[in-house]
Amino acid sequence: MKNIDIEKLNRDNFKALMNALSLPGTINKIEPLFQSGLLAIANTLLYSQTSFYYNGLEEFTLIEAITNSKSENKNNCDYLFADNICKTLLENSKIGTVKDPEFSTTHIFKCKDFKGLNVRLSGPGIDGTKEVSLPIDREFLEVFKKKNSFFPLGNEIFFLSDNLEILALSRTTKIEVV
């Protein structure tokens, strides 16, 4: 059986997540765990003090056991993982409070690739503006804007493509359709 250095995977993947979130719209690479990018991200983010909700078909029980994290409903989880991009999941997740805005849900959505809506991003982490393609539709974008309309409340989103690339949107990211 091939040995896996899970902690090395975690630190490499955390670096990718940190770079993606600090520079929204940039693409970073994820290294898989058990042949899965989603499980690799879950294993990087989850630990005993965090909760998650998963909507999909991947084998999450192993990650739950390794990380000792708690399964939670979709409205109260810290991390929400999904096999598909779903505006309803985003619509109903927690956004924190003005006193504790960090108590909000971070979304990790799987997607085929980043092709979709052509948008212009601006805000912290972006040098002026940046034009990118996002794997979302206008309805999803409206939900994202609504959820992040009252800073510091809001959500962060990571999109994970089939070829293990990630792209992030922060709650401070302003998006306009090109």
């Binding site: 902690e7 955390f14 971070t106 510091p152 709650r171």
Partner: protein, 274 residues
Amino acid sequence: MRYAFLDEEAKKEIRRSILKAIAIPGYIVSFASREMPVARGWGTGGLQVTLAIINESDTLKVIDQGCDGSVNAVNIRNFIHSVTNVKTTTSTKEASIIQTRHRVPEIELKEGQTLVYQVPMPDILETVEPNTAKAKLMHANANYSKLWVLLYEDTSMFGDSRISNRYPVLVNNRYAMDPSPIPKYDTLKLNNCKALQLFGAGREKKIYAIPPYTKVEPLKFEDKEFKVESFQGHFCNRCGSKNSFLDEVYLDDGRVKYFCNDTDYCDMNLQGKL
């Protein structure tokens, strides 16, 4: 010994706080600060942040007041190297992670670099509101009137603010933030900085951040110019620089000489590599 000293659970806790801090620029995120093999107040916050983000591909630089050779910097650099075997450097340009105590390097930082600050007191409001619960509520309401009053009192009595370092800044037009005890000279470098800036306060159990390309402004009245330290008429007695933050050094014979505070900048200038 585990890679980077901290256990995985501790790293994940710190990493979660870092990600939240990046998402909410200037906001103070609490975290479960661990005991470190360094006394609290000697850089344990910066150390924990660095150990949580570092990996094999990084090149580390540690400075204390701009100097790579002071006791604090050398000990922290040696410790991090001993638990990660990571490449170390004194060059600002070569480093991917720069851990600093009270200075922003003179040489402009670039995208992809991370500047980790060691923070003694993370909340700028503690100077005007000692009750931390009240201060948290003030941040929630963006109520910085007490800071403005402090600035007003200083300005009305002395013509300008008396704050010489740790000058309050407003991040992304929302949160008033403590930039750690950097001199006013460095305050303007925080604005639109290309590097990611992470702030760790170990004793106070707090982490906060400024993402790259983020608006950071010193808190000041519109009709008052933000004045930084002036070294007019002085230059570095080692490299001749007139464009750097200078240390005033008293020699044994009573004479005063000036030297660059940032040793890497001084070396680069001396070698003509700037």
